[in-house]
């Protein structure tokens, strides 16, 4: 019974991970892509790890460490990426404000 519940939790996590990929593919500019990639993967990864912990309760300590690590590092790396994107945009004359959704792909990468 716990195996069934665990696999269903893993499936829900997989749905979130898939929607992270879809968001990464569909979103219009770098900031929104980073947002889609960060949030959905954090929850999806946590749900997959919870599902595995339901299968093997003796693994839960190490799974907890992995989940906590992802919780701590994912916002930091997304923040560093967003800051890099913001700096690049400012330097290439994109201006400080980005009010429209259409600004994304004109600016040239390095």
């Amino acid at each position: 019974m716990t195996e069934l519940i665990g696999s269903i939790v893993i499936l829900i996590g997989a749905v979130f991970l898939f929607s992270a990929g879809l968001g990464m593919f569909r979103m219009p500019d770098a900031f929104t892509r980073i947002q889609a990639g960060t949030k959905a993967t954090t929850l999806g990864n946590t749900l997959v790890l919870i599902g595995i912990a339901l299968y093997f309760p003796s693994w839960s300590l190490k799974l907890l460490i992995i989940a906590y690590f992802v919780f701590m590092t994912n916002p930091i790396s997304s923040h560093a990426l967003a800051r890099a994107a913001y700096g690049l945009q400012g330097r290439c004359g994109g201006g400080v404000r980005l009010e429209t959704a259409g600004t994304p792909d004109e600016r040239s990468g390095p």
Binding site: H79, R83, L98
Partner: protein, 174 residues
Amino acid sequence: MSSRDVNATPFALRGFVWLWLLLVAIWLAVSSTFAVESVLAGALISAALAAFFARRFDIWGGIRVSPGRVYHFLLYTGAFLRELVHANIAMMRYVYAPRIQIEPGIVTVKTRLKSPIGRLALANSISLTPGSLVLDLEGDEMLVHCLDLRGADPSEVARGMTRGIEAPLEKTFG
């Protein structure tokens, strides 16, 4: 709350002890064994790392532990998890929409938090809450990228972002 008390233990030492305990706990969890050699090696390596980082960065000195703070930290965790699930459902709504209709923009958020670690925790939480991503952190001001500003007042959005998370963090970290 100032991070230095009059009769407190030396600044770096307090940070050292908490960081050491944290690192040893992580070591025990990762190695998942209680063999004497393993625990001893872990304690030594953790002590060296903790001494180095506690002396270099005084961010670790701002951490205090008391039952009230632990209680408020748990409150923060609850609020954070609720926001995380909410953020994901909001994100799914945008991702699976037939046409993505968003109006991204940047707002400035001011925080009441004083300690650097509290600000770090707040910035991390804002990055994981609905439609917002911290771009830059300078003093008590944060630049936050918002996914969708359609028909919303930017200052109202900025206030809504810290609601529910800032208060428990303030009680935990000061």
